[in-house]
């Protein structure tokens, strides 16, 4: 792929309910912050991509209404909708467009306003004949897979709770995060109510209102406009077949994420992820998933994820900080969640991550995840 780079990012302050703004206003908040960060005016944007899952708000073709919040009036604009990966897939679409020679500056905005809809209804997405009665929504799927993961790999609730604690502590440094608590403890997590065994409330990501945006530029424009762009070294997507029972250990093995990460590692020349990556922003919808995906992403060998979190390897200041922003566990406006991952990783490379900046971050991994075991992966770097 021809090179493209991220030159600006912007996020709203994510919250349980942003009833102070309409959906277009929410989008505008993130979009204008991203343009300000990139030092661009709206007129300099060539194309807009909106990421959103319309059923969460009960809308059809929401870009028609919210597009102008993203400065899309009289401009090329389209919407990407792929469930949880909507945000990362929108960013990948933005990379392709900015690298195509057709557009020089592409603004990608993801948003979701869960408070205006019924999220569980929006997640009734499993096959209506075969799967919906067994597992619908996120929680049922996770509970099934996590029980299997615990049984096979010996991961404990305490180890998962450490992920929640790390997340809330990191989020306390992030002004945009929805849930933050610098003093959360493992005992707090283990005392929170069970949602679906073994998943407890504090193990699970929230539903948030929020939007996030990135500005992607062609190589020529990126060099002119930004002293230290976040270059897209590699990006790919893997989708999975739809039936829950058709793949053994579906969420545990995540062959999509394994394959996507191996593909971007190969393209970006990464052989030892733990050593070569400086930071990772991964899409962890539930604490146990972060542990499972340490293994899948090659941060440790099988069954060693619990030790990685216990040893503090993935904390800010550890060998490979994972989700210094607080991650999905601390802010989850679905259509924006993947864009937040990309924006956070890009901010680390741009050196604009603020209190949760990882000093000297040069290489970042981003992942996206959808309940159907869809996976996106990308590597951002400080050099083209």
């Amino acid at each position: 792929m021809r090179p493209a780079a991220i030159i600006g990012t912007g996020q709203t302050d994510h919250a349980k309910s942003r009833d102070d703004v309409s959906q277009p206003e929410l989008v505008r908040e993130a979009a204008s912050r991203a343009l300000a960060d990139a030092g661009l005016r709206p007129s300099e944007v060539d194309a807009i991509i909106i990421g959103n899952m319309e059923m969460f708000e009960g809308r059809a073709l929401p870009e028609l209404w919210v597009g102008e919040g993203g400065f899309a009036n009289r401009k090329p604009c389209l919407k990407i909708a792929t469930g949880g990966t909507s945000g990362t897939s929108s960013c990948i679409a933005g990379f392709h467009q900015a690298a195509s020679g057709v557009f020089d500056i592409v603004l990608v905005v993801g948003f979701e306003k869960h408070s205006e809809g019924q999220t569980q209804t929006g997640m009734a997405l499993t096959d209506p004949f075969w799967d919906r009665g067994v597992a619908s929504g996120a929680l049922g799927n996770f509970a099934l897979s996590i029980s299997q993961y615990m049984a096979e790999r010996g991961v404990t609730p305490e180890q998962a709770a450490r992920v929640a604690v790390k997340s809330r502590r990191n989020a306390a440094k992030n002004p945009h995060a929805h849930l933050k608590d610098a003093n959360a403890t493992v005992a707090d997590v283990l005392a929170s109510k069970v949602l679906a065994h073994p998943v407890r409330l504090m193990d699970m990501c929230p539903q948030s209102d929020g939007a996030a945006a990135i500005v992607v530029a062609s190589a020529e424009r990126a060099k002119k406009l930004c002293s230290r762009p976040a270059w897209v070294k590699a990006a790919t997507t893997r989708h999975e077949q739809p039936y829950i029972g058709d793949i053994d250990r579906r969420l545990l093995s995540m062959r999509t994420l394994r394959d996507a990460s191996r593909s971007v590692y190969a393209t970006a020349g990464i052989r030892e992820p733990l050593k070569q990556l400086d930071v990772a922003e991964i899409y962890e919808p539930v604490t146990y998933a972060e542990l499972a995906w340490y293994e899948i992403l090659g941060f440790c060998s099988e069954g060693q994820a619990g030790r990685l979190i216990e040893d503090g390897v993935t904390e800010i200041g550890g060998e490979l900080p994972v989700n210094p922003s607080g991650g999905v566990l601390c802010a989850n406006p679905v259509g924006a969640t993947g864009v937040i991952r990309v924006a956070e990783a890009a901010s680390q490379i741009l050196g604009r991550a603020g209190a949760h900046q990882i000093e000297g971050a040069k290489t970042a991994l981003v992942t996206g995840y959808g309940v159907y075991a869809w996976a996106d992966a990308m590597i951002l770097g400080s050099e083209p």
Binding site: L64, E68, R74, H239, Y372
Partner: protein, 345 residues
């Protein structure tokens, strides 16, 4: 140097008001036909780009239903919610970026499973517009009313255009006598929504890969509020066409099109299309009849591309150009075009 893109294969279902098959069954027929037409299999695809709308299909992430039949399992799939021709535009960007060489584009919709017209209300501004009870058809009616009030001969002309597009199935007089559905639009002037799927294989041009060349793409989103737009013209199409011309290398000039395949759901839209594209009488418009006799939302623009591709297979005139067009949203808020160039061998 960006690669040339060839339309290497096409496939589609026959548009019908209600297809008794499931969405994946319909899509499978279109995809298998397109792959066979291109002489390739699923394994030859680098990526898939699909177009569909969750709210119209009544299920979240409705492309989940087609992941297997489009061959996207363990592959990159971009899924766009807009007219299928925007998926072509995006797939073109993917190929021009150097990311992929062979991309399958598929679009699907099944309007028979839900009250489609009512669902279009849910695409309108929920604060100022949706509570008024208007939908896409009423928006088209408002636009037609604005045009008809300034132009006493318009309704007769529209009836004649509609009669022509219906291949003589209804006379202009019968169309003018048909019931008003969104004044001044009458039943005989309105395209009938239905069920279907289309698929197109795009490939970076190499030795041995033949077909029309996708020379340019462009799209545009007009402001949402009808009051913020000049409803007497399709300026969104003008901008989309200028962008497509630029990507095709026709900087600053409108080329002559031998064929136009517009997505016009009403006769007044055909007049707006002809004016915006600045077409003359030398351009053949919708030789297959166009969409008035039956159209599939979201699939429509992609189906125009399959029609244009068939045209190039019939007419091997050197240097021929076709204008392919799609729309989505109220009163064609979204506009997308592709420029196809003469058959390459």
């Amino acid at each position: 140097m960006r690669p040339d893109i060839v339309v290497a294969g096409i496939g589609e279902t026959t548009p019908v008001p209600a297809d008794s098959r499931s969405i994946p069954e319909m899509v499978l027929e279109a995809v298998e036909a397109a792959l066979a037409d291109a002489g390739i299999g699923h394994r030859d695809l680098d990526a898939v780009t699909t177009a569909s709308v969750d709210m119209f299909d009544g299920i979240t992430a409705s492309n989940i239903a087609v992941t297997e039949v489009v061959g996207a399992v363990m592959k990159p799939e971009a899924r766009i919610s807009a007219d299928g021709l925007t998926a072509v535009a995006h797939a073109a960007c993917q190929i021009w970026s150097g990311a992929y060489e062979t991309v399958l584009v598929a679009a699907h919709a099944k309007t028979s499973i839900a009250p489609h017209r009512d669902l279009t209300q849910w695409a309108l501004d929920p604060i100022h517009v949706q509570p008024l009870g208007v939908d896409f058809l009423t928006c088209a009616g408002l636009q037609a009313r604005l045009l008809a009030d300034r132009d006493p001969g318009a309704e007769r002309r529209w009836a004649e255009i509609a009669a022509k597009r219906r291949g003589g199935a209804m006379s202009p007089d019968r169309i003018l006598a048909s019931p008003l559905v969104a004044s001044p639009l009458r039943l005989g002037m309105c395209a009938v929504p239905g069920d279907g799927a289309s698929a197109v294989v795009l490939r970076a041009k190499k030795k041995g890969i033949g077909g029309p060349i996708l020379a340019g793409i462009g799209y545009d989103l007009e402001p949402h509020a009808l009051g913020d737009r000049d409803l007497t013209r399709w300026s969104g199409l003008e901008r989309a066409l200028d962008r497509a011309g630029k990507t095709a290398g026709f900087e600053g000039r409108r080329p002559h099109f031998d064929l136009a395949e517009p997505s016009c759901l009403f006769p007044h839209e055909e007049e707006l299309f002809v004016a915006a594209a600045d077409l003359d009488e030398m351009t053949e418009i919708s030789p297959d009849g166009g969409l008035l006799a039956g159209y599939i939302p979201i699939v429509a623009g992609l189906s125009r591309m399959t029609s244009a591709t068939r045209y190039f297979r019939r007419n091997r005139k050197a240097g021929a150009l076709a204008l392919v067009h799609g729309t989505w949203g109220p009163a064609a808020q979204g506009q997308v075009v592709a420029i196809l160039g003469g058959a390459a061998s």
